[in-house]
């Protein structure tokens, strides 16, 4: 019979390396028509980070994402970057890209200031225009300013910058210190069906509330969460590299190493928690890795809720859950007509190792 259970898990996760310097540098060039190019040494590994970086640069320059072309991942032409690791691209490379864009923008402001009859500090860039703060009708198109900068002023707008999260070394004796610039938080709640005859677990639904600071692109945040949850389901229920007694990996293929497919992926409800981090670009932190962190824990808690067996080791395969259920049944005294049997609960429940 299928039993339904619910389980929750929350987590915290840092952005960037543990104490160690993990800088990113970036270069932003503004073209004569007001579009821009970002040079970054980070790598697009499928997560959409280059789109996020384009959005950050576009926001700083007051242009659209489509107006920013990103050149990436070539050691000959792009600046130093610690890379696509540690959920750091939006926060660290994003900060560097924002600062580089700001420097290029200041050149535009210097060029535009005399044309608009104000000081550079009185200018703002928004909606493809450079305008006087508080007087948006006094404006110039960013392309006109950029062209003027090149053709008349001889100041091609270009900016470079680097960013490294502020950390403090950990005391070797006590581990006290400031290892990371910032952290994100999340909660996932899983609903599962456990077949108490076979031990098979089916994840029915996952609700995922994630903090990423400002969501630079909510669609890409949702994509990360959905992918992370799928990966977390594999970690919770199926995936395991097995070795023989001689240390040889015995299931190095996708026939025997079982991963969740789209059919194993439940309804995933993604919720982005309102949050703003003053140290991140436009308040953003990151979201890549944390998305799978609480999934397995939530599923394990849901299994307990459904059938009263505590999974102490992952993955919670059907065999393991079945054996735990069997052990639990054997442990229960067979009482007929002696009142309500004492089942499950915290006392006398078997643990699976």
């Amino acid at each position: 019979m299928k039993r339904r259970g619910r389980g929750m898990a929350c987590m915290w996760y840092p952005i960037g390396f543990t104490v160690a310097a993990n800088p990113s540098a970036a270069v932003v060039k503004i073209n004569e028509d007001g579009t821009a190019t970002l040079l970054t040494g980070t790598v697009e590994t499928g997560q959409g980070s280059l789109t996020i970086l384009a959005q950050i640069v576009a926001q700083e320059l007051g242009i659209a994402t489509d107006d920013v072309h990103v050149v990436s991942a070539d050691t000959d032409s792009t600046p130093m970057d610690t890379g696509a690791i540690a959920s750091r691209t939006t926060y660290v490379t994003g900060n560097a890209a924002k600062m580089a864009a700001e420097k290029a923008k200041l050149t535009l402001f210097e060029v535009a200031a005399p044309l608009l009859g104000v000081k550079p500090t009185q200018l703002e860039a928004q909606d493809h225009k450079i305008f006087v703060k508080g007087f948006p009708q006094r404006n110039m198109h960013i392309g006109d300013v950029a062209n003027h900068a090149r053709v008349v002023s001889g100041q091609p707008p270009i900016g470079s910058a680097s960013f490294n999260p502020e950390t403090l070394a950990l005391d070797p004796e006590t581990g006290q210190g400031k290892p990371f610039g910032t952290y994100v938080y999340a909660t996932q709640i899983a609903e599962v069906d456990v077949d108490d005859e076979t031990g098979e677990v089916e994840v029915v639904r996952i609700v995922a509330s994630h903090d990423c600071g400002t969501a630079i692109n909510p669609m890409l945040v949702e994509g990360q969460v959905e992918g992370g949850v799928a990966m977390g389901i594999g970690f919770a229920l199926e995936e395991e590299m097995l070795f023989d007694a001689n240390g040889r990996h015995i299931n190095p293929n996708l026939t025997n190493y079982i991963m969740p497919t789209s059919l194993d992926t439940p309804d995933i409800e993604v919720d982005i928690v309102d949050s703003y981090d003053p140290t991140g670009p436009f308040g953003a932190k990151g979201v890549g890795e944390p998305t799978l962190v609480p999934t397995a824990a939530a599923i394990a808690n849901a299994i307990y809720d459904a059938v009263g067996v505590r999974i102490m080791s992952l993955p919670a395969t059907a065999e393991k859950v079945f054996k735990a259920l069997q052990a639990k049944r054997e442990q229960q005294p067979k009482q007929i007509g002696a009142g309500v049997p004492q089942n499950g609960g915290a006392n006398g429940k078997p643990a699976v190792q």
């Binding site: 929750m8 915290w12 390396f17 543990t18 104490v19 499928g46 789109t51 384009a54 959005q55 576009a58 242009i63 994402t65 489509d66 072309h69 991942a73 070539d74 050691t75 000959d76 130093m80 890379g83 690791i85 928004q126 909606d127 006590t174 581990g175 210190g177 290892p179 990371f180 952290y183 938080y185 609903e191 509330s209 903090d211 630079i216 990966m231 977390g232 970690f235 395991e240 590299m241 070795f243 240390g247 040889r248 293929n253 190493y257 919720d271 928690v273 309102d274 949050s275 703003y276 890795e289 824990a297 939530a298 307990y304 809720d305 459904a306 059938v307 080791s313 049997p341 089942n343 609960g345």
Partner: protein, 467 residues
């Protein structure tokens, strides 16, 4: 005489009654109203837009060029001979027969690598094993041939003589100081981290309840859609261009320069669009070997790992053994927590130090715990190396601290949501390392998830028996 006004050609006009008829005025608004909304990519302000990805169209049309889609004139194909034995001394490697095969252009072994060691923190990993095999997926020779099939066949012709050693496979066994060191002469513990705060024993003495639990997690692979792939091209100026599925080109260039003994200015690394990383592509693999094969043959050399190699010869997730002891009040407030973590570090260090640090710092959970003692060890075993993988130890410790939390909640009869809200961080809370935390929204995430889910206290089994 003035020109006569031109006579309007009446008959023609009459034949076109539409001109004579008064035209109905065009409606001011036509329904349905068609408003052209620019895509998210084209809108300002850019931040917060659901902007589509610039690479999305190419992916959708199947036009993205991955490394396996790239060909250069005269390109050769490389394959790597794997040890297939977890722990052994290499007595000899005979490549003569393979080299004599038609279509085989070059064969190299670890002895051809100028500096045969690399690693992001400890330089304990050979590009190709030369004297000692540390795990079954170690490469011992690399072949470049005119086709993948010939290169694969040539691997069979390479004769390696091993002196087998007893492999150490259990991390707890490896942790014992009397166990022979895998990377002799030192012990197998290659990383240790400790976090101490307050007085744990005193806290346990003051607690109403003590809970203990031992949790374990398994080794898993990243399984990216695109396996490791690389093309190396050594040019006549002695400069090498490497196209690789690398998530970290800066570190990759440093490692390639170091292992080949050439200045970084002579190394160019280009990471094309990478088909999935998840932490498994954060360090070099066969780049130096391919560069040398290209140098030796004067031709570009490509290597794409098989799925088997992706499992056996790339990094994986650390299995953890996690012992938890927690003292709580009757109300469920955590007073003290003691944690011991043992990480199975596999054959090489790779990103173990980062994983060790993050796992240890995060192991207490997002909770205010004034008395904490967390200690973590990472040990070598003769298994596939473990390294960076999405979460760096966090999914493992989260499984432990959140399972443990539910144990406590169920025993004390407290709702799992309530016990978490009671202990969770607030704005300005101090982390286990006494870092003052900012923009903390763990309680908000708990409450929002509970509301969205429709959380209403304990479920069936929590109340009785899953009925």
């Amino acid at each position: 005489m003035a020109d006569k006004p031109k006579v309007v050609d009446k008959p023609d006009v009459l034949q076109r009654p539409d001109i004579l008829k008064p035209q109905a005025p065009a409606p001011l608004v036509t329904f349905p109203v068609e408003v052209v909304v620019p895509e998210g990519r084209q809108q300002t302000p850019a931040v917060g837009q659901r902007a589509s990805r610039a690479d999305g169209r190419l992916h959708g049309l199947g036009q993205t060029k991955y490394i396996d889609d790239m060909y250069f004139p005269n390109m050769l194909f490389a394959k790597i001979k794997r040890a297939g034995i977890a722990s052994a001394l290499i007595k000899s490697i005979d490549t003569k027969e393979a080299e004599a095969m038609p279509g085989v252009i070059a064969v190299i072994t670890g002895r051809d690598i100028p500096c045969n060691s690399f690693g992001p923190s400890l330089k304990d990993q050979p590009v190709l094993a030369d004297t000692r095999v540390f795990h079954a997926g170690d490469g011992v020779a690399a072949v470049a041939a005119v086709s993948e099939q010939i290169a694969t066949e040539a691997l069979e012709k390479i004769k390696v003589v091993y002196e087998p050693l007893t492999p150490v496979l259990d991390p707890l066994e490896s942790l014992k100081l009397e166990t022979p060191g895998i990377h002799a002469p030192s012990a197998n513990i290659y990383g240790h981290k400790i976090i101490k705060k307050g007085d744990v024993e005193k806290a346990f003495a003051e607690s109403d309840h003590i809970f203990e639990g031992s949790f374990r997690t398994q080794m898993v692979e990243h399984v990216p859609l695109e396996p490791y792939a690389c093309i190396a091209q050594w040019d006549a100026n002695g400069r090498v261009t490497i196209y690789s599925t690398l998530g970290r080109i800066t570190l990759g260039r440093a490692d390639v320069g170091r292992t080949l003994g050439i200045p970084m200015s002579r190394v160019r690394i280009v990471a094309t669009v990478v088909g999935g990383n998840f932490g498994g592509k954060n360090e070099i693999r066969a780049e130096p070997a391919l560069a040398l094969l290209s140098k030796k043959t004067g031709r570009p050399v490509k290597c794409v790992y098989t799925r088997v190699e992706e499992f056996t010869s790339s990094t994986t997730r650390h299995p953890l053994i996690m012992d938890y002891k927690t003292g709580v009040t009757k109300q469920g407030k955590i007073l003290g927590r003691k944690i011991r973590l043992v990480l199975d570090g596999g054959a090489y260090c790779s990103w173990s130090e980062t994983t060790l640090g993050k796992a240890c710092i995060l192991s207490a959970g997002p909770y205010n715990i004034e008395n904490l003692h967390a200690e973590a060890f990472v040990v070598y075993t003769n298994k596939t190396m473990t390294g960076a993988m999405r979460g760096f130890g966090a999914p493992q410790v989260c499984f432990a601290y959140e399972s443990h939390m539910d144990e406590i909640a169920h025993t004390l009869g407290i709702d799992p949501l309530e016990i978490r809200l009671l202990n969770a961080f607030d704005e300005g809370s101090l982390s286990p390392t006494s870092q003052k935390l900012h923009s903390v929204v763990v309680k908000e995430s708990l409450l929002r998830a509970a509301k969205l889910f429709g959380w209403n206290g304990l479920g069936d089994a929590g109340k009785g028996n899953g009925a």
